[in-house]
Amino acid sequence: MIEEEAVFIMREVAAQFERPALMFSGGKDSIVMVHLAQKAFRPARFPFPLIHIDTGHNFEETILFRDELVERTDARLIVGSVEESIRKGRVKEETGPEASRNALQTVTLLDTLKEHNVDCALGGGRRDEEKARAKERFFSHRDAFGQWDPKNQRPELWSLFNGRKNPGEHFRVFPLSNWTEMDVWQYIASEKIPIPSIYFSHKRSVFNRRGTWLDDNRFIEKYPDEKAEEKVVRFRTIGDATCTGAVLSKASSMEEIIAEVAAARVTERGNRHDDKRSEAAMEDRKKLGYF
């Protein structure tokens, strides 16, 4: 049901837009998106490139996985680099222990879309992730500045998706809108889709900041009282390595992960520091053009 819907949406994008692209972060949702794209256009190759917005603060496993996937699917990969944007002076690096390149991504993303004339960016966003996303459309219209206006979204009825726009505007399309975190995991399990190793339990050097286990890496400046220690952890979500929290977990197989997700008492984004800055943080970032 939700698979059919996602496939239908992807085909609709291929038909309605001239230069679509699939936003690929290396996380499980975008991996599922690639899998669905392969299904939607079988036996042909899917007719759009992958775009990865690289913050430069990656978990190594993510990049390895990305390159393997590109190899496996024979896809075209476009990388938009935040480092590059910083070098060009398009954005300014935050400093200090709380520094993150999350906010900077938006500028790099919009620049990359513009550079490649992308008129539709396919994203793995789900409505269940966060309150502000509950109202998101499958076809989300963005003005010439890439901005989202919650009061000016087109009504979507039945399976009729209106992708008409003026030159310079673009769309973000979310085929997984109606999927939940559980749906994604169950789908990965039933379709036997490979995912990066950091989703499974492993030993890692981490430190605790306000209840979140952060990876001890060269991108994060620790406060004096923060001490790294070895823990058995896994990641429920993969984002920027400076602010994505790990969970203490022994789940090392798909079945164990699903059981853990089913029993979880915290949403998957509950561990994303970037969302917590204020209650309406996500909404503010969306308005600026974030996914």
Partner: protein, 615 residues
Amino acid sequence: MDLLRFTTAGSVDDGKSTLIGRLLYDSKSIFEDQWEALETTTQSRGEERVNLALLTDGLRAEREQGITIDVAYRYFATPKRKFIIADTPGHEQYTRNMVTGASTADLAIILIDARKGVLTQSRRHAFLSSLLQIPHLVVAVNKMDLVGYREQRFDEIVRDFREFADNLDVDDITFIPMSALKGDNIVNSTDAMPWYQGPTLLHHLEHVNMGSRKNSEDFRFPVQYVIRPDQDFRGFAGRVVSGRIRAGEEVVILPSKEQTRITGVETTDGPGNAANTGESVVLQTADEIDISRGDMIVRKNNVPEIKTKFEATVSWMNKAALESGKPYVLMHTSRSTQAVIENIRYRINVDSLHREDADRLELNEIGRVTIETSTPLFFDAYKLNNATGSFILIDPADNVTVGAGMIRNTSSSALDVPEEKSPDVTWEPWNIPRVEREQRNGHSAHVIWLTGASGAGKTTIAGELERRLWEQGKRTMLLDGDQVRHGLNRDLGFSPADRKENIRRVGEVARLFFEHGDVVICSFVSPYRADRDAVRGLHPEGRFSEVYVHCAPETLQERDPKGLYRKAREGKMASLTGYDAGHEAPEGKHVISVDTDRLSAEQAVDHILKQTGII
């Protein structure tokens, strides 16, 4: 696992957000961090109890105003089913959101505040649900705690709502008394209302019958996208929106009407040989036909309507009004075309359900319009097929979606749907209502329909029957086949299609006299059951009596009052009901049977009057 989509409609203060919050909270679909955020907000606002409504009010602007202003989708699952909630705001200016949420729903929850009872907007929600053909309605009578959990109050609301819903096209309504705030009958049953034996809301959601929206009969495959990886493979990607298809079947391509055979069905899991309703597949055809997006693949003997002109009910969603004569872009299945609203027949007042004259439709208004498109659409009536009966209108100036439409039965096919009672409107075009006329006349209006072969005795009995009623001081009118065919229907012959149209017109005329308060006697061969059922459908339950006048075939030939059977024997008539063309006899308890081999005309009239209870 099943997926049930439902909408929730109710006004800001009926406790809709609390109801959803309660549903999520009691079904353990809320996470700790969401709960903590709720508690934090509650504290900062200085409120006492954790406000479940905050769970669903997503956007800051709304939280500041304390209202919801758009369709928000929520997800939860129980071991039995997955659910998608389309949470739509209930106040006046957001009809468009309700229509949007309702367009994909299997079920609608209409929330009523037990203190306030059935309000204008409850009626509006019910009307919109029936308009969008949501198969199931749940009337959630909330805040029962504030009316002392009294059964009598609940019963009053059920009665009021039913009285109104009788005018709507809704098959399944479930009433549940509840308190979202206290958690009564949402997920957990309660001791507070021992008089209520029915299911809790969640139990009902988990067990309600699914798939009522599916049309598994008529194969329709709008082509979405052409897939051509190399010279050897050419396939047409799309979703089977209704019906099913197998490799090897003969199909026809619209609009070219070229015929071919399906040679392969590529599923998302690889080559297969069949596809069912809802599946996204790639079809391959035997012949190299030029097929592109916007075409439709169907079966030869089951094609949709192919027209550039049709009637539709449109829900308007834009600040700039809908105007006739203005060009819009119309999206229907995978086809986009230019469209002009030819005329606005009437506006439907969604509160009173009355038809009103209108020359434009404003934001949130709904009306019946005639549309003309620049290229033909391949459609079915929305009632029969949601996917091929729905469309959206787009303003080409700014590309915004401005309207949503549901295609109505075209007049020629209206009779194919016996139950078609203008579902979206109660019939009230009369200046003086029938009830007042009936009071003045001192008797009820009624239609007595005599059907049977030529020579069975219909005309004699009808004449005698009218005379008898007239003498009793009743207002009467007699409509007879020959008389009507000399005037109103002199353009019609005796082909099946013309016979159908003959009866359709007569039915409408009978209806007019009925609304005038008369006892209308109709004497027509009317051989087709479906036609008679259509006329029955025009009249209120119990006010239309069908009389089957019959005798032995040899008696017909013997009587032959019009010499028709002689002509038929001499080969001078194409076909004659009762001689070589069949009469579909009416069946069922309601039919009054009159055997004229056994009864005189007078006895027949006595029998009819007794059975109908008119005298």
